[in-house]
């Protein structure tokens, strides 16, 4: 017996692990203290719990617990990193380098900074979604202060050559930030080994609570500082004020610990299911995997089913919760900018589905999803004029479409 609908949208958010909730519960009512209260046991207890959680977070990414700046999530972490560097290092330069397939939390922050006088280079990803260290090298200028490249992409899961880019930045004396929201907890991320100066991640993508995240800020070689974007009591080494959200911090700590201990086993199991899903769905005629499959997260698959439209497809696969590269549902009628950036035809960009598996996904659910998607694609193709034309050997590019 499986429960419908099946949740396969784990790149949007993951369910919380029950063990995380268990760790959090004592910190709502029993141990409710303010971690900044230095004068009594209530405060000490909260502080102790936060310190422990920070150790758990640091251990997952091979950082020092003092380098963990707690925020409300990856969007805030990205904002703090970029805006904080822009202000703190204004004398050094104002040029940023990023990639056009980044998350909006990076792209829109860059747009904001451009209005304030920053200069931003947006690197173009290749068809497989990756950029090269040579592209970064070619974009560096004397006034470059920061390179920010996401660890793994949220739509297609491709993993960028972080270590190489970080090492290049180090050799040029430029700071390197990465939005690792999709990567932390899923694959091994090592801030020392990778040479990362700043890194954003979020609790709710790794079985932790929503509304809590981290900006890792390196303290040695080099010592990085960002100007606070939230002023107040000087929490988080002065970089992010605000009373600490103790239960969520405890939860994120526990989520990090579970990921550290169980990552290898989870990855082995999840990637096997993902590969089976993909192999089966690739037996559908004119189906494609989007993005590089060699450098990719183990739990993500983004596939296009040509000649069916994404939103119609989403409706057809109503028993599985997935997301579509076609943003028709948001009324913009624009296909995903990430898929477009990879040079995908509109038909392919419009007809894509993103599957995101989790540690709670089962083999039975994958079996169901495979059949469900196959049925929906076949049904929609039966009613697709484009599929009929394709079958008759008509090249759709030769048709004069009446655009509307």
């Amino acid at each position: 017996m499986i429960n419908l609908p099946i949740y396969l949208d784990n790149n949007a958010t993951t369910p919380m692990d029950p063990r995380v909730l268990e760790a959090m519960l004592p910190f709502f009512i029993e141990n409710f203290g303010n971690a900044a209260s230095r004068n009594h046991a209530f405060g000490w207890k909260a502080e102790e719990a936060v310190d422990y959680a920070r150790e758990q977070m640091a251990a997952l990414i091979n950082a020092d617990s003092k380098e963990i700046i707690i925020t409300s999530g990856a969007t805030e972490s990205n904002n703090l990193a970029l805006k904080g560097v822009f202000e703190m290092y204004a004398e050094k330069g104002n040029h940023f380098i990023t990639v056009e397939t980044e998350h909006k939390a990076i792209l829109d922050t860059c747009k904001h900074l451009e209005k304030l006088g920053a200069e931003v280079t947006y690197l173009q990803a290749a068809e497989d979604g990756l950029i090269t260290v040579e592209q970064v090298a070619a974009a560096i200028k004397p006034n470059t202060v920061l390179v920010t490249v996401m660890y793994a992409n949220n739509e297609i899961g491709v993993i960028q050559p972080i270590k190489e880019i970080a090492s290049l930045c180090k050799s040029k004396g430029i700071l390197f930030h990465t939005d690792a929201t999709q990567a932390v907890g899923k694959i091994k991320v090592d801030v020392i080994g990778d040479g990362i100066d700043m890194m954003s991640f979020s609790g709710h993508k790794m079985y932790g609570p929503k509304g809590v995240g981290v900006l890792y800020v390196r303290r040695k070689n080099p010592r990085v500082k960002v100007t606070a974007q939230m002023d107040g009591g000087g929490h988080e080494r002065g970089m992010r004020s605000g009373t600490l959200n103790v239960p969520s911090i405890v939860g994120l700590g526990k989520a990090c610990e579970l990921c550290r201990l169980e990552m290898d086993a989870d990855t082995a199991r999840i990637s096997k299911m993902r590969d089976r899903l993909e192999t089966e769905l690739l037996t559908i005629e004119e189906s494609y995997i989007n993005g590089n499959t060699e450098h990719r997260l183990p739990h993500v698959s983004n596939m296009s089913f040509k000649y069916v439209e994404g939103e119609g497809l989403i409706m057809g696969v109503k028993n599985i919760a997935v997301s579509s590269g076609s943003a028709c549902t948001s009324a913009s009628l624009e296909p995903s900018y990430v898929l477009k950036a990879l040079g995908l035809d509109d038909e392919l960009a419009h007809s894509s589905l993103r599957f995101g598996l989790s540690r709670f996904t089962t083999d039975e659910e994958i079996d169901y999803a495979i059949n469900h998607v196959k049925e929906a694609v076949n049904k929609l193709r039966e009613m697709s004029p484009l599929w009929e034309m394709f079958k008759e050997g008509i090249d759709l590019k030769t048709i004069q479409w009446a655009e509307h």
């Binding site: 000649y307 439209e309 057809g316 484009l386 759709l396």
Partner: protein, 138 residues
């Protein structure tokens, strides 16, 4: 977004999917929309030579649920109508019948365009001039 029951019904049980012989003089074919917009509708009518009544209508649509439902509904409405009456089908009738939300009104516009385009194809094939469409859609 939540779809209306009628949209879900037409999407799940589309009426009149199929293809008519587009080379036939009695068949008018309308192909509207574009793949890059995420909607393509092909709507066909077959007109009775003697009575001038639309005796069959078929569609195929690439698009969202509302686009599929709009074209499915259009074929239902077309069957049994005279060509002149078919021209009177207004996109807002489709919007009302299917309870389409504002962001999906374009699906109904496309269905109306497909009807007109099919009728014009039929007219031209039969030596009549195409009807000018001066309607403004909102």
């Amino acid at each position: 977004m939540a779809y209306s029951d009628k949209v879900i019904d037409h999407y799940s049980n589309p009426r009149n999917i199929g293809t008519l012989d587009k080379s036939s003089k009695q068949v008018g074919t309308g192909l509207v929309g574009a793949p890059e917009c995420g909607d393509v509708m092909r709507l066909q009518i077959e007109v009775d030579e003697v009575t001038g009544i639309i005796k069959d209508a078929k569609f195929k649509t690439f698009g969202c649920g509302s686009a599929i439902a709009s074209s499915s509904l259009a074929t239902e409405w077309l069957k049994g109508k005279s060509v002149d009456d078919a021209l009177k089908i207004d996109n807002m009738d489709i919007v009302e019948e299917l309870a389409l939300p504002p962001v999906k009104i374009h699906c109904s516009v496309l269905a109306e365009d497909a009807i007109k385009s099919a009728i014009n194809d039929y007219r031209v094939k039969n030596g009549l001039s195409p009807i000018e469409d001066n309607k403004k859609h909102y």
